[in-house]
Every structure is written in C-alpha cells, then in structure tokens.
Subunit: 268 residues, 3 copies
Amino acid sequence: MKPADIICRGLDALRARKPMVHHITNSVVMNFTANVTLCLGAAPVMAPCIDESLEMVRYAGALLLNIGTLDPVLVESMLAAGRAANENGIPVVFDPVGAGATALRTGSALRIADELHISILRGNAGEVLALAGHDGKVRGVDSMDSVGEREELISRFAGDRGLVVAVTGATDIVTDGRSTAVIENGHPLMGRVTGTGCAATTSAACFAAVMDDMFEAAFTGIAAMGIAGEIAAEKAGGPGTFVPLFLDGLAGLDEGTIRERIRASVNG
Amino acid sequence: MKPADIICRGLDALRARKPMVHHITNSVVMNFTANVTLCLGAAPVMAPCIDESLEMVRYAGALLLNIGTLDPVLVESMLAAGRAANENGIPVVFDPVGAGATALRTGSALRIADELHISILRGNAGEVLALAGHDGKVRGVDSMDSVGEREELISRFAGDRGLVVAVTGATDIVTDGRSTAVIENGHPLMGRVTGTGCAATTSAACFAAVMDDMFEAAFTGIAAMGIAGEIAAEKAGGPGTFVPLFLDGLAGLDEGTIRERIRASVNG
Amino acid sequence: MKPADIICRGLDALRARKPMVHHITNSVVMNFTANVTLCLGAAPVMAPCIDESLEMVRYAGALLLNIGTLDPVLVESMLAAGRAANENGIPVVFDPVGAGATALRTGSALRIADELHISILRGNAGEVLALAGHDGKVRGVDSMDSVGEREELISRFAGDRGLVVAVTGATDIVTDGRSTAVIENGHPLMGRVTGTGCAATTSAACFAAVMDDMFEAAFTGIAAMGIAGEIAAEKAGGPGTFVPLFLDGLAGLDEGTIRERIRASVNG
C-alpha cells in the first residue's frame, strides 16, 4: 500500500470511530495533547490516579503513557493501567520523556518497557537509545559513527522486543524491525514549541486505537503531525502563533492535503 | 427581567467588583480557565493543597470545585475548602467531570454533593444524571425516551436539592426546579476544544461571586460563554485558532453584543 | 554600559549557548513558561519530583523555583534542588507567588529564601514586601505613604540579603541595593493573561544561565518581556490572541527591535 493510502485509511477510521484515548501524561502538555486528540477526531481522557486509571482504561481504544513529570506514585498508576490494557487487548503507546537523563527516568522507563507489552514506543534518538541499552546522553548519541549505525540499532531493538519504534527529529523513522518508514515532513518550528514530541505520541495513540497494524498506526500518527506542522509553519509568525495553527492543521487534514504533501517512503 | 438585562447587569457587577475566584480544579484546564476568569474580569487563584485551600477560600467571592483529575487527597482539600466556603456564605460551584465513568469519580462527586451546600452544579447531561441517581453512561442517557423526560428529571433534582443545575450541550439548560432558562447560543467548535465545559463552570462561578441570585448567575455565565463562542467561531480557522479568539470574545463582551446576540428564554 | 547594550549582549549569549533551565513550578503556567523558555532560545526542563530534581539540576544553567501551586512535598523538592544548585554554582531564581496570602505560602517562601542562596527574586510588590518582613496584604502595600518608601524598603532588602530583586508592575524595578534599573516597557494586556509574572521570572532565569552579573540578567529578562509584550499588544485583538503573539515577539527579538523599543534607565 502507498504511504498516502495508509494515512487516508487511518484518518477515515479515526473520524468514523472517534475512540477514547486514555492519557497518563505529564502536566506540561496535558492541555495541548488533549487538543491534539480532539483535533484529530478522537476523545481524550486524562485520569492519572491509580484508584481509577485501570478502571478508566477499559473504555479506551488506546492507552498513552508519558513520563515527562513522573513520580513513583504515577509510575505505579501507569503500570496498573498498562496491565489492564494488556489484559484487554488495548494498545499501549509509550513516551519515555527524558530517559537517560536521571536514574528515576531511565529506571521507570525500563520498568514500564519490561513489565508491559508496549505496542508503540515514540521518543527522540537519545531516549530510544537509552532504552535500547546504550548511553542515552545526547553527546554520546551525536558522536555515533553514523546515522546508519543508530538506525540499525533501533531497528534491531524494535525487532527483538516485538514493538514499533518511532524516532522523531528532522527526519522521522518508524520501524518494527522488518518494515521501516522514513518521513521527511515537518518544520523546524515544531522544535521551538513544547510538547510537539509528546503530541506525536498522542497522534500515534489515536491511530493505534483504530488501526490493526501498529506499524501503520505509528507511521500515520507521525506523518499526520508532520503534514499539519508544515501547513501551520507556512502561516505562522513564530512559535507562538504556530500552536493554534498547528491544531487547525490537524483538524483540517483531508485526503487531498495528505496526497499533495506526504513525503515518506515505506520499505520492507 | 429580560434575559439580556440579567446578563448585562451581571457583567457590569463583575467588572466593577473584580472578585477573586478560587479554583480547585484539574490540571488539564488550569491555564485555560485561569485565562477565562481574567478575560471575564475576575481574578483567578488556584491553590489545591489542603494546607492552605481553606485559608485561601476566605478571600474569594466564589469557590469552584472540579474533579477532572481527582485523587483522594485533592477531594479532601475540596471538602475542607467547601466547608469553609459554606461557613462564610461563599457560593460553591461544582463541576463533576466524568461522574458516572468510574467508582472514584461517581463516589467523590456524590460525597461533595452530599457533604457541601452546592450553589451551582454544571455538567453535561450524563454527569448530572449520574449525580441525580440514574445510570450515567452516555449510552443510557442518549437512549432515554425523550429530551423532555431528562429535563424533568434534572429539574426535579435541582428543586429537591435546593441548587441550580446547568446542563450544557448543543442547547444549554439552567434550572433551579422552579425557573428554567434555555440558551441556544454557542457553536459546535466549542466541543472540539478541551475545557470548554470546565470554562462554562468557571464562568458561572465568576458571576456567582457578584450576583445574589444563583439561577441568574448560572444563566449569565453559560450565556456569556455561548455568545463569546459564536463570535470566535466566525473568525476561527479551526479549533486551534478558536481558543485565543474565544478568550478575546469573553474580554470584549459588552451590552451591544449581548443584546444583539442572545438567544435565550427564561421561564417560571 | 547602556541598557540596550546589556540586553543585546544577554540575548546573543542566550542564543549562542542555549542553556537548559530547570523549573520546579506551578501547574497553571507550566506550558506557557516552557514555551517562553524555548522562544527566548533556552531549553526548559520541568522535573518536580524530589527523587530526580536535584540530579536534574546539575545539567542546568539556572534553577527556577515557583510556589504558585505548592504543597509541602514540592517545597522539599525545591529545597533539595536549590541546595544542589548552590553547591554547583548554578543560579537560583525564585518566584514567591502569593507570599503574604496564606501561612503555607509565606512560610514556604521565607524558608526557601532563608535556606538557599537566591540569585534573583522576582515578584509583585506585595509578594516581595511579604518576604521583606512587611504586611504583604495588597491593601497594606497600596496604602504605603509613597512609591519612594516602597522602593527604598525593597532596595535595602536586596542589599541586606545579597540578592537581586525584580518587582514587576506597571513600571518594573530591578535592584541589588546599589544599582537600580527602572523599565517602562510593557502593556496593560500583560495583566489580563495568567502567567505573565511567572514568565518574567522564567525570562530572568534564562538570562541568569548565561550572564555573569545577576543584576544585568534580571534587568535583561524583565526588559525582554516588556518589549515583546508591547509588540504583541499592537497586533492583538484581546488577551487571548495576545498570548501567541507575545511568544512570537520573544522569539523575534533582535538588536534593532531592542534599541528602538527599550525605555529603561540604569542607575548606580
């Protein structure tokens, strides 16, 4: 299937089914990612407390876990909700914000990745490499011999763990160890605004709630972000006006825009 | 009094007195509802910790309680602040977000409604019916035989409990069991943005801080939201640009706009 | 050095070095102040949990502490991170939101000011006077005999404690007890939006991460806010559209704009 066909099919399914996507996420991006969810056509719920998180997840099409402002109590809630999601066949999408930066983050991220079945892991290169067992410090990542070396490591990690990994950056890569998608959409303004990484995870979770193939869901979520980001950047006067225009861009995505804009390849 | 006269009188009082409105509310909408409060002309305070919430409430013109991201500790703070508000004659405005969805939410909402004297309860139909003792599941609500049946149930609940109930949706209804207002203002974009329901509760709380009649305060708060929403929707390119324009619309409300735009009836 | 020269030098340094600024801050303004940090050219981190806050601070160019939505656990995390910052020579910038309003706030603010070495204290007049040992109630402040009397008190407090105090309002004052800067930039719309005070503290912290002189850093941070606020207000339709335009204004600050717009004096 062509990249544009996958995205259009995902968007049709999302708007037809309007799934609930349960977020246990960080306090910085709650409002923004709730609006991302709504603009894409899904319904956000954010219920962090362990006393209800695992009850709430049963209504959800997907569960998003994001450790941006984590504490040990929140991690227990994530694990409980994640186990309930796993038992009920609900995809778990994980954003290991800052993994590699502190012992609490790296340890919590590894525990979540080990104790739960994760369908999609979305992070930047440093965070994903921290989980893949390599030194997660940005310097370490940047000094790797080649981009190819990093890609191979990430692809092997995805294949070994049986999950889809989406690494976002100037170029986005989605891989399950067999198939790999490369997405060239997006705009540098996306890096000047807080929460666009977290929003990419939310976007992947929305599509995971309605698509059977997690590789296609992650690809569709990341591609939709990039296309909306490009559209917004063309009208924005800076990072501030970019944010509302980006949300408009997500809400206004349609088949024509997707086919015209997508610059992505899917191999394997 | 004509609907427009009630709203204009409330807005004049709010801008003249600039009351402090204390919020114990959810993390998703804190920023947005603080800005709603400021745009209407009041001053927001958000002090969730029980060690100070009941001390802070004594400076307030109204107390807003919203259980969107609740936990048991926060509920205790809400109850303590609510009791202090009740003792000091400060109106309590309650938003039972998600009541009916989980045991924690429904139980906490019922406890708040039972242990405190609530002046205004603002929710969607499902949340209000969950508190009124009916199955709060959205499906159950939608399959009720008629809109009239729901309205009668809500009106009886308001009268029995001695509070004002505001149910927002495509059409908004405000009732104290004797008088009922129906508001036709608003725009579908309001449902595409997170926190517009919570913002309606904030708006009602702002007017409750300066108006003696809680039915009129709730009506004014919900009507102001609907009018600002319409104005914003006329200029917005989507849900993203709607948000800042909606805040501008609230800040720019004046007598001419209100008299020109209001589509509401008050009976009883 | 002329005021504009100080600001231009600070901005050049900030954009060249892109320091990480660690925030332990309130839930209302997290998203907004993270975007302020990014728009100025620095990188925000918000890691409130004590299990990692003091580990995280070691990567930071500055540590910002803001008690807007405080609780005793968060205050302990602030103290631990602050001690780690002090030990590592990382400037600590403190925003005592609401000091004077409740015992918890005033007590926590005094404890932070006493136990840590604070480089810059940013607040409104009431908050700063509450820390300086005077009645912090707004009424008390307003009824002081003269503005000059308040300024003298604040200047003496700064000199005695060996910190820089920035008091923002219609006119902003920055003082270390010897030098005093007065800034006339800004716009009344900044008072109609939540978090502009907190954002001024963030702005000061960004410059504290790259400038050696804390007086110059605080002056530069407050002046940058005022200039961006003026630019945004000229285009905004109200407080709502002001916010994204203000962030654009921060991101777009350049030497020409600064030299054209700055209305400030530095004495002493």
